[in-house]
Symmetry: D2
Subunit: 353 residues, 4 copies
């Protein structure tokens, strides 16, 4: 399987550079017969879109999806489903000043060393625009999961030092602010912090929490393909992620067994420190995990770097960039999680036979 | 590829239940010609062995490796290298009391629901004994990596609330105490905490840090197979892991771009907040990541649970168990990391052509 | 890896139904740096095109390729290379009469049973139009192989009972007739036979021979991935193939060991009964294999069949169809072989390290 | 997936050299709950065993299977099932005379060039002894298939020029002679031919036909994973195979569409020229395919060859070898076919959901 593919039962393959003709997706292995809800997919695409909220970059991109194959009279046929989004907003000139130097915190340095060729038009495959294809695949995965009453939702629970603790968390509020923050008051604080940093030409990191509800018992495998291993792989393949934790996560290091073990009674598990899996297999409880995102590396403050000939120089990155990636990354986290769970659901259907 | 295999260039497949005839490993895709240093492999196995230190369970297992194939006159031939370790210490009776109930924090519940069959003799494939095969594979991977001057080393940096901060960290001290703690004084504190909890019948979690040095620029791939994604998959497939972070990890959420970006000058990167990768590709800096381990679920304190017929009951787990898994998990973390890096090294040799 | 993908080092994924928006190809894993010769690819596409010769269906399709990604300023970047061909000649009406019945010799029956949904517009993924993507991938593979002085060429050596024996074979003549037959006189006989059968509304099978020259010693693997096993998989995945043989092939059944063994002297192998491999690994001799194609199932003679409700009926297939698939299949055989060899060449570069 | 593995739903991995400690098999992905019929497996192993019939080599090997994992109280648990067969008959000295020269028709030349290292003890992974693991995997596959009323049986239908035509074929007679020939009179002729050639120090090729009955409609996939492509891969991965054909096979080249198409009526297909698949998907008819085997390359007649230093020399291969591989290969053909079909059966269970 190529490095641009993910998932072994339902395989997604993404393609396209940020400023080539198009970016796109092939999804292979879908169960035939489901109506393809184009409106839902487009709505998910819009959640990811730059300019989709007042906090991000005001670049306007339409991100209109086009179906090339795999659908007949509105129904998924089970053949490879291909979606493309044309790149209509190609401003290659914007990138001319960065084609000769390596931007700190970006893939420029490593990408150039690896491939020899670097397409200066926006980062090649390292561009955030590649996530368009992931979101499309995630939306289609959700269509299947929702039919099985599985819900996958993420929220921004921390930006900088502004945190939403579990007791402050009101999950329903996450859809009533642009940050997908499950606490509207904290969302306002976060918004102010982001706007401050934008004015200073700086950026800020954050943490996203994802909850998956309605799962059956038995997804995943006890050795190399534990649910948390597959999720960690999927999530850490999203650009700018720096950490993944499930259930108590890093806090588990401070707990004793008697604190951390989830006791059971005839009505089920009494607590959910584990975060929804035991021995790598879903327990039927909600999966709860968190993802750390680094601050956007594109800042307009001056930074030391080198050019292609290893000469010292400084760089000031022009253009408009998101000071915090979290609001737009929420839907990407949901997408990658949904793709993992859809694959596991296909797997479990095997085990029943 | 089956769920008991990992790695697509050098593929390891592990097999064996904790108390069956043997556990073992097949390693396929090795470069022919390297002498197999059996002493080194056995030493690595001994690092993992229960009873290998004064803190763990006093169960004595020999864990003698036996080579079934893939070696001729002491040289690796490139054919599948098979190693088995016989299970000589089968005390199935020890487990009779737990065969009817689900141990909190263990895979008993999920495993039974998934497979229908549960081998009560020690957890089936969820047994820690499966890591024997991983350690053997890791040792062989290290033989190759060391030849390329790549060093992969892990250390216990936190147990409970006893932490070794970066300023307190003396990496060389990690080999002078049983905990692989890079600070002997903290190691003594940790040892006291573990012994206290053992007497109480309880257990404790911890954090392991892993550093990989000597890497070339260019390992990994910019989309789904980012180095950190492959490492996260590998590490989160180890039992009892709850979190993975690279570089600044979860702390990156609190940083600004100007704090977190690693500036560059003509001598290289000035800092290493990233933890050794940019855009999913190694930058030539050290890879530094951390792993959270939960407290061992086997505690002798009484816990609420249910039996197979969903009746409420209580369980007290007999036998001797490690109150903290970290000292033995250090070598498993190194092993899984080494397997990932060996696979990526094989990959990069392709790119050169 | 999805069922619409092939190749583990250089992975091709094809998509598109015969009469949807487009058919296409993603090729992942290409070595960066090679100029993409669009003219060569288009010429290969034209060799496959219906109406590309006077013997086939006169349907005119342009089959113009369009590059969506993976190329920058004419150079292959190593990112997924995506090619599409729009379906401009959609005559869905042509197929209305066959949407209710199962055409004998076609995939209609099995496809309908497998997927539940059948797109009557030309056979879904079973359409010959899917081979467009294979030919594009083959053309790109040839660009790489030719640079390594590896040449892959196929020829029509039998149609019906008209055979070109090895002594009659003049390999250079294959490019001087539309049938790619390595004997112009036989080509004329074949052409007459095909035209006769076309007038009768019938069709005819044939045999294609493929020769791959310039191979290094050592491609392939001694167990499941023998060169001949990979080639057989690739070739038998082409529609209408019924047999694959290498070297002496089925004739080997009649030979003794002393007749069939290829003796060796200091200048190399004295004969090539093996067809270029020993123990599944290339010997440096030419690979020579043959493929049997069945007669095109689309014939205008009346045939017994059933409709979707299992009622007996008869069918007469309208429209223009190739009475013999071989002239157009020659380039598809070359394409699939080239993809296999390109994958093996990537593999061997590993072994050198 | 490594090169010593096959099958993506139920994955077999084989290991072991002919004269190392053991050869063996891991089978991953089996459905839990089936009793493991050890007697049946051992009987299948005995069918493959040298000395299992009066025609083959009189070398006696016990080939006793030993289960290392994956079975609990006689029931398959679904964890990796590991079987080994110890190599008790190690006569390394027998091979001393061939370690310096390349045997014509053997993998010696290619293997040495590929790996640099050659274990002279019987051919390394190219040894026929590797098929032990395939037969064990095939036997286990048959246990599952038989439960679904799928029967996979092969027979020797040609040796040299002695052929059993379809009209002479009495399938039931295949179990009443050592050659698995479906015509006892022809079997006697074949036996005489083989014995003649043995006395002359020569060998002979043959053809095996395999029939798979009781298949559901819908196995396989319309593009790269057509049933015949997967079978061809599996079969051509058996040593000494030179050709694979399904249904009419190479004879289809001589037929017209009106002769070759299988017409249908309300009771089903009227003929079976196709050999059980349409568009790569099973039609519910019997799969019928044939495999060409070359004559055993080990002959005691003198042959020209070279030594490791490229000096001309002659070789006379000592020891006892099968003059014809077909009688023992019958069970290997059945095994590889059964593994393919078991994988496809797992796949189809997905499609139902």
């Amino acid at each position: 399987m190529g490095h641009n593919s993910f998932g072994d039962k339902v395989t997604i393959t993404t393609f396209g550079e940020s400023h080539g003709a198009a970016v796109g997706l092939i999804m292979d292995g879908l169960q035939p017969g489901l109506p393809l809800d184009l409106d839902f997919i487009q709505k998910e695409m819009d959640r990811r879109r730059p300019g989709g909220n007042s906090l991000g970059t005001p670049r306007k991109e339409d991100d209109k999806i086009e179906i090339l194959s795999g659908v007949y009279e509105g129904i998924i046929t089970g053949t490879p489903l291909t979606i493309i989004v044309e790149n209509t907003n190609q401003k290659s000139k914007d990138y001319s000043n960065i084609s000769e130097v390596f931007r700190p915190g970006h893939a420029d340095f490593t990408y150039t060393h690896k491939y020899g060729i670097r397409d200066p038009r926006g980062g090649g495959r390292s561009s955030g625009r590649e996530t368009l294809a992931r979101v499309a695949a995630g939306a289609i995965s959700k269509l299947y999961l929702n039919r099985a009453n599985i819900i996958c939702e993420a929220a921004t629970i921390q930006i900088g030092n502004i945190k939403v603790s579990q007791s402050e968390c009101n999950w329903d509020e996450r859809t009533s602010n642009e940050l997908y923050c499950p606490n509207n008051a904290k969302a306002e604080e976060m918004r102010n912090l982001i706007n401050d940093l934008r004015e200073k030409g700086d950026s800020i990191g954050g943490i996203i929490e994802c909850r998956i509800k309605g799962l059956p018992v038995g997804l995943g495998d006890p050795v190399f393909d534990k649910v948390e291993a597959l999720l960690a792989h999927a999530i850490m393949s999203i650009g700018a992620t720096k950490g993944f934790e499930i259930g108590e996560g890093f806090n588990a290091a401070t707990l004793t067994g008697s604190q951390n073990n989830d006791e059971i009674n005839s009505e089920g598990f009494i607590t959910n420190h584990a975060g929804g899996t035991l021995g790598g297999i879903t327990s039927g409880q909600d999966i709860i995990f968190r993802v750390a995102f680094k601050p956007t590396p594109s800042i307009s403050l001056s930074q030391k770097t080198i050019d292609k000939n290893n000469n010292n120089t400084e760089i000031t990155i022009k253009g408009r960039h998101d000071p915090c990636i979290c609001p737009r990354a929420v839907v990407v986290v949901e997408a990658m999680s949904s793709i993992v769970i859809l694959n596991l659901m296909k797997e479990i259907s095997l085990e029943d036979k």
